[in-house]
């Protein structure tokens, strides 16, 4: 499946639907899913079925429960890339600003540091104690620019707007 790059939702959904089409609902994905095992409300099979049957992507919020372990794809007898389909679904909901707060936080950190974790004073000290070299500096402006041209900043803004809307 093509990566989610082009800003055309309709084309995107039909792409996803086509990728899901070979599914014959055998359930081996769910049977192999570690999340489904402990939280049956998340079922990769049904996520795919929904797209094939209705041609629309139902944003339930549960699509974010995918741990991206790729076991479903490994075993799918029809070669359906379920994780990729779920990524596409999540991208579509992220475009509408529907994102779990923890991921927004992570994106914010990346936006300003280029990394997913702040190198704290403690880290620097521990690295020095261990005799580790200093980490090469990342040009934050470069990261900022990439996030901007790839639409990540827009998505973050939309998230903030959605948050402010009265529920």
């Amino acid at each position: 499946m093509r990566p989610v790059i082009w800003d055309d939702d309709e084309e995107r959904v039909s792409d996803v639907r086509q990728a899901a089409q070979p599914c014959f609902q055998c359930g081996v994905c769910a049977a192999s899913c570690p999340v489904f095992r402990v939280a049956p409300e998340f079922n990769p099979r049904i996520a795919v079925d929904e797209i094939v049957q209705t041609g629309t992507v139902a944003v339930t919020g549960r699509e974010w429960y995918c741990a991206y372990c790729l076991m479903c794809e490994q075993r799918c007898p029809m070669g359906v890339a379920l994780c990729e389909i779920l990524v596409a679904i999540k991208n579509l909901s992220a475009r509408d600003g529907k994102v779990p707060p923890s991921i927004v936080e992570m994106m914010d950190v990346i936006r300003f540091t280029g990394k997913v974790s702040h190198p704290s004073k403690g880290t620097t000290r521990r690295r020095r104690e261990l005799g580790l070299p200093e980490l090469p500096e990342v040009d934050a402006a470069e990261v900022q620019k990439l996030l901007e041209v790839t639409g990540a900043i827009d998505r973050l803004t939309r998230y903030r707007e959605a948050e402010c809307e009265p529920q």
Partner: protein
């Protein structure tokens, strides 16, 4: 062989003692590590789910940085490996995608050309150095029964990554055996540690981890050996949370492979590495495995079941 070293945010900032072990071990095998201004890989699940375009472009930038120095990338984290290797696969198999991403990279004056390879330390140690080469350099055998966990993102998608068998991984086990340890098969060996959704749904994430621990504990290992910092944190710090949430009493030392390799090679400075661990009894487990400290390897989760933390 010289590589652009990609420690990844987690190792560099949260688990520097793992980086220390890598930096101790690599020169011994003539693996040169060059530091370059890499950003987050970026993380394969959350960032890709938020915006696949952003994820792909940032990964392409990191690879482009290595390309500018004519170096292949050596990753130490399964997640970084997955992101960079998958992004590379997408960029190398679709001219359209590559052109699109390169248009974005042009804004920062960079270009992805596809020259650099992306490898994980497991591949270098197992495929290039080889188990025999590893074994020859060890000073002592570590007598320990361990369970291994390669990490989902080193194994799948199998057809693209081609690192090891996704259903029956064997390379980390072979590396573990080269240090004199016994690798015990266990239920759910290829199962996820749950880290991928820790931020999104904590309860589910730790419920997954509990399943994983249930499988590991059935074979009463002395320790778990991983080759991914995310799995490391998930197992090490995670077991306390699991114990709290579910009333279990797991106390399983967890090691990143090169830590034990450094110990087996008798390299200087391994004490500072092990002192960074959080599971009580970690250092004692290593001491016992080395033949110090009286009674031979006692299973913390072992014969008498799990003990209290």
């Amino acid at each position: 062989m010289k590589y652009a070293f990609f420690p990844g945010c987690t190792i560099a900032d949260r688990l520097p003692f793992i980086e220390k072990s890598i930096r101790l071990v690599c020169p011994e095998y003539d693996i040169g590590l060059v530091g370059l201004p890499f950003t987050c890989c970026p993380e394969p699940n959350s960032v890709q789910s938020f915006s696949q375009y952003t994820w792909l472009t940032m990964a392409a930038r990191n690879i482009a940085v290595a390309e500018e120095h004519d170096l292949d990338i050596l990753t130490a984290c399964a997640g970084c490996f997955e992101s960079l290797a998958m992004a590379k696969h997408m960029l190398d198999t679709s001219a359209d995608t590559r052109a699109h991403v390169n248009r974005a990279l042009a804004n920062i004056g960079r270009e992805y050309t596809g020259q650099a390879r992306v490898v994980h330390l497991l591949q270098v140690l197992h495929d290039d150095v080889g188990c025999k080469g590893i074994e020859e350099r060890t000073l002592r055998q570590l007598r320990m029964r361990v369970v291994t966990h390669s990490g989902c993102h080193l194994l799948r998608p199998e057809r693209v990554l081609q690192v090891d068998l996704a259903e029956a991984p064997a390379k980390l086990d072979a590396l573990v055996r080269a240090l004199g340890m016994e690798s015990v098969d266990y239920m759910d060996k290829t199962m996820c540690c749950g880290a991928g959704i820790r931020g999104v749904n904590r309860d589910i994430s730790f419920a997954v981890l509990r399943e994983k621990f249930a499988g590991m504990s059935m074979v009463h290992p002395d320790a778990a050996v991983v080759f991914c910092p995310t799995c490391f944190i998930s197992f090490e710090a995670g077991q306390r949370v699991v114990n709290r949430m579910f009333g279990t009493e797991y106390r399983l030392p967890v090691f990143y492979y090169t830590e034990l390799l450094a110990v087996a090679m008798g390299l200087e400075g391994t004490e500072s590495i092990l002192s960074g661990h959080r599971v009580q009894g970690t250092e004692e487990t290593v001491a016992r495995a080395m033949g110090h400290g009286g009674t031979p390897a006692q299973a913390p989760m072992g014969t008498h079941g799990a003990r209290e933390v």
